[in-house]
Structure formats: structure tokens, C-alpha cells
Symmetry: C2
Subunit: 207 residues, 2 copies
């Protein structure tokens, strides 16, 4: 019923402090997020109040804001970015950076089951259609750019503030963002657009 939350890996790998408290917290978080997304798609983002979400999830407003600092975060709380970076860093050292990114993206998105993929698609559509959410999403992208920048630096053994790497990372982020927007506007598989975009990038972005 509830969508799978991958929260367990936030703690250290050795101990498993999955006490009753942790389980209830995870359930509450998932309930809030699920009901929020359902209400948003049913009656629109702006027309849905935090009070309604809290009521549907059977928590108080105080509790809502303890779990999600803003209403927007019920949609944009990003679980995927750190996972992507992790997969990227785990790629073998001899593959090029673009190939490593391609592999990481594939590994993460192919790992979603159909229900998760469906939910993710709905979420993406919602995000791009609501201005406030769009704005925050774009900021997330640039935060991702920064993380990617650090990862690339480490991978290539470059020193900090390498301007060429900065521009390279910026361009690649722009490509991914453009592919993302295109996939929403044109419809179709997100992964395919990313793939084509990365190929263009590898070929030097011919016009």
C-alpha cells in the first residue's frame, strides 16, 4: 500500500536501530507524502491546504511541519540525488565520466518497480506544471550540479576550482535538465531522452 521508503540506509550499516519509533516515523512520513500527492493530483496543488493533508494523514499540522519543512517538500523531498551520486562513484575507474553517469542513471531508474515508476512520473508532471515547484526543482538541479562537480573532481584527481571542470559540469547539468524538460513536454521515456542527450554531449553537441 504505502510506497517504499528507503530510509533505512541513512543510519550506519552495522547496527539496525529499527525500533518501534523509527518504524512509526517512516509510516507517518510516507502517509503524509502519499496523501499529499493524491490530493494534489485530485484537486490541484494550490487548492490543497496543509490542513487537508494533515487531516487525511491523521496528524496535526505541527506534526506535518515537523516532517516536511514546507508544503513543497512533500513533492520535492529528493531521495534520488544522493543515490545517483553513490552509484556514480561506484563505477569502475576506467570508464569515462559520461559513461559513468549514464550507467548510474540507468542503474537507479531501472531499479524502480512499476508502481514506483508510475508515481515518479506523476510527480515529475506535477512538479513542472506548478511554478513554485518548478523553481525549487531547478535549484535542486544546481545542487546536484555541485555534488556532481565534487564527484568529478575526485574521480579525475583534479584540484578544486578547476574552471574547465566547472564549465563541463554546468553544461552536462544543462543537458540533463533540457532532456528532462523535453521528456515532460513531448512525453515518452525519461531514460531514453537522457541517453540521447548524453550521446549528443559526448559527440561535442553538434548543431
Amino acid at each position: 500500500m504505502s510506497c517504499g521508503q528507503n530510509q533505512a540506509m541513512t543510519t550506519s550499516p552495522a547496527d539496525k536501530p529499527v525500533g518501534l519509533r523509527e518504524r512509526k516515523k517512516a509510516r507517518t512520513r510516507a502517509a503524509i507524502q502519499d496523501h499529499a500527492l493524491r490530493l494534489f493530483t485530485e484537486q490541484g496543488y494550490a487548492a490543497t491546504t496543509v490542513e487537508q493533508i494533515a487531516e487525511a494523514a491523521e496528524v496535526s499540522q505541527s506534526t506535518f511541519f515537523r516532517y516536511f519543512p514546507t508544503k513543497e517538500d512533500t513533492v520535492l523531498y529528493d531521495r534520488l540525488d544522493p543515490v545517483l551520486i553513490e552509484h556514480f562513484l561506484n563505477q569502475p575507474a576506467d570508464v569515462g565520466p559520461v559513461a559513468a553517469i549514464r550507467a548510474a542513471v540507468h542503474e537507479v531508474f531501472r531499479g524502480l518497480d512499476e508502481e514506483q515508476a508510475e508515481l515518479e512520473a506523476a510527480r515529475q508532471r506535477l512538479v513542472l506544471s506548478v511554478p513554485d515547484l518548478r523553481a525549487k526543482l531547478f535549484e535542486q538541479f544546481t545542487e546536484g550540479m555541485r555534488m556532481l562537480h565534487d564527484a568529478i573532481l575526485r574521480r579525475l584527481g583534479r584540484e578544486r576550482d578547476d574552471f574547465a571542470v566547472r564549465m563541463w559540469t554546468g553544461a552536462l547539468t544543462g543537458v540533463v535538465l533540457a532532456a528532462y524538460v523535453t521528456s515532460i513536454e513531448e512525453g515518452g521515456d525519461f531514460l531514453e531522452y537522457i541517453d540521447r542527450g548524453l550521446t549528443q554531449f559526448e559527440q561535442g553537441l553538434p548543431l
Copy 2:
């Protein structure tokens, strides 16, 4: 005293309906924006209320929101993007797209006097330091990406939905954004970073 508002060119070029009403509107808009920016830099963005800005500009809150739909827009109301596009389109047809962009950026930013440049710099610093403003700025960048996409299509005579152009534009926007962020973080001339970024882009983004 008041910073130069280039509002006049929004009307059709033939008539000049610069009546008393129009002049007062321009003055009010400038007053709100100036006092807002001053208060933001003096006491911080979040700590400054709309009420304070309205009081400083000697207008009611109603009037404030008639001029600026949101508090953020006092900082982010962008007058430069359409000007940039216009200059880009006015470049001679035989220069390449990157060179045309470079020329347009130079023309626009070199056209600012020292006071305007100083104000613009303060504005840029403020924008990147406040999360809410950052988010909206990034959205503006992608709107700029869309406008640039259309302009490039027209310039190259391509048909709509050319994937290669989309990726090219996305990458270029990413480069400009990265150069922008770098110029804020590292300090130094904004134009110089843009120039170097565009050069990197022209050279195929070597690592």
C-alpha cells in the same frame, strides 16, 4: 537618484504617451524597488517585511502588490533577458551563434554605467545568498533557455523540436549559469567568467 528604469520601450515606438500618470507609475515602481533592495541589504531579506518596504516607499501594501506580484519580484524582476535576446537577434547573420551570444552579452553589460553595475552586482550577491531567490533565479535561467532556444531555431532556420538544438541550448545555459555562480563565489568580473565559459564551450568543453 532613482535608478534608470527602461520602461518606455514597452509601448509601441511611434507614440510617446509619457503623461503624468506614466511618469508617476515609473517613479513609484523605482521607489519600491530601490527601498526594497536597500532594506534587504541593510537588515536581510527575510527580516524585511513588505509593510516596511511599503512604508519606506510611501505607498500602501495594496499598491506594493499591484506593482510587484511577490516580494521576490522586487529583486528578480528581470529587465535584461528580453534585451539580451533582442541584441542577440540583431547580430549579423554570418557570425556563429556563440559569437552572437558573446557580442550580445557584452553590448548589454557594457552599456551599464558604474552605478547601475554596482547595483546589479549587489543584486546578484543577494540573489544567490537567499534560497528562495536562488530558486526563482534558476527558473528564470531556464525561461531564458527557452527564449534562447526559439531564437537559435529562428537564426538557424531549423524546425521546432530539434533535439540537437535543445541539448545545445541546454548545455550553453548550463555553462552560463555555472559561470555566473563562479563569478559570485570567486569574486571578480562577471563578464570575464562568461567569456571564458563561452570559450570553453566553443572548444568542445575539454576536461
